[in-house]
């Protein structure tokens, strides 16, 4: 081999060696083929993680606020305000206070069709009311009442022949169910084509009306302690 060429090869191979060692130093992960499915999966995973980060941020902010309230140099008035709000929330949950708010009103009465109305299918049953109440809770109702009897977490609805016993108070048709909450959500949920309310209306031909209302009044529980 020519001497010049030898030197040339030596320099060139040294450069190659430097490059190889740089690659070895970097510890690059194995470059597998990235299919579209893999990319999509990674994207979905990323979205989930991002959402989690967002919710975590919200939680962290809430906790930070709470910490601020519990620090030594606490503002008494803000603490009082917070406690008042907490008491109000608890009252709402335990039905210890009357509520006024936007929501929906559902009126149900027995079928007027003679053929159906005279059978057991045309009568409003306790089960029908129960299903509607559960639907309303699912769609995020904050407070529900039937004929101005507040529904509690431990309420019971019983059949009493043509009437219904709610919280040991007997009520008869027409049943007026009021619910306070996100009115749009409640309305679309209840008046959906596949909803139970629509089933009562179309199949059993009961008299059912659903309407959005503002400033609905729902009383607190009867045996409440103020």
């Amino acid at each position: 081999m020519n001497r010049k060429i030898r030197i040339f090869f030596l320099i060139f191979s040294i450069a190659l060696g430097i490059m190889i060692s740089l690659v070895l130093k970097n510890k690059v992960e194995l470059m597998g083929p990235y299919t579209y499915e893999k990319i999509r999966n990674y994207k979905e995973e990323l979205e989930i993680v991002e959402n989690q980060i967002k919710t975590n941020d919200v939680i962290i902010k809430g906790i930070e606020k709470e910490i601020e309230l519990h620090t030594d140099d606490v503002d008494i008035s803000s603490l009082r305000e917070k406690l008042r709000k907490e008491i109000f929330d608890l009252k709402v949950i335990s039905a210890n206070s009357d509520l006024i708010g936007n929501g929906i009103k559902i009126t149900i009465s027995d079928s007027r069709d003679r053929d159906i109305g005279s059978t057991k299918y045309g009568i409003v049953h306790d089960l029908d009311i129960l299903v509607i109440i559960n639907d309303l809770i699912t769609f995020g109702a904050d407070a529900i009442s039937i004929n101005d009897v507040r529904i509690l977490p431990d309420s019971k609805i019983d059949c009493q022949g043509p009437t219904i016993r709610i919280n040991d108070v007997v009520k008869s048709t027409p049943f007026v169910i009021k619910a306070i909450g996100d009115e749009e959500k409640l309305f679309t949920g209840v008046s959906d084509k596949d909803s139970y309310v629509n089933l009562l209306k179309t199949v059993y031909e009961m008299e059912v009306s659903v309407e959005k209302k503002k400033d609905i009044y729902i009383p607190g529980r009867i045996d409440r302690r103020v």
Partner: protein, 126 residues
């Protein structure tokens, strides 16, 4: 061949002590460049053993191949199709081909040397 091996070893040692590293984003390009240079160096050794080595051809091949490989990789990256596989396959095949030819030539040289020694020994005995 030995020179190349020594050079690569020295280069690796130098590289390990160098404080500089490249961004991992470019690892694909660096790998392709390394493959192109390995292919060129083996091709150079092969042609040198066949007494056909021309530094112009060598350098133009090295630079041209490297540029085309990098461009193909870049284009594939942009389009979303792994075109760099083509460069890997082509350079890989050529490396093996070059090595096969080098091996044959070296074996022939070895055999010749052996024959010469054998003949010398025979002459000496006679």
């Amino acid at each position: 061949m030995v020179i190349v091996l020594i050079g690569i070893l020295v280069g690796i040692l130098i590289g390990l002590f160098l404080p500089y590293t490249y961004n991992t984003v470019y690892s694909l390009y660096v790998s392709v460049v390394i493959l192109a240079s390995l292919d060129s160096i083996l091709g150079g050794i092969n042609s040198e053993l066949q007494k056909k080595f021309d530094i112009k051809i060598f350098l133009s091949g090295l630079i041209g191949n490297t540029i085309i490989a990098v461009l193909l990789t870049f284009f594939g990256d942009r389009v979303g199709v792994p075109i760099y596989y083509a460069t890997i396959v082509v350079f890989g095949t050529r490396i093996f081909n070059n090595f096969a030819e080098i091996r044959r030539i070296l074996l022939k040289i070895l055999e010749k040397k052996k024959n010469i020694w054998y003949n010398i020994n025979k002459c000496m005995e006679e």
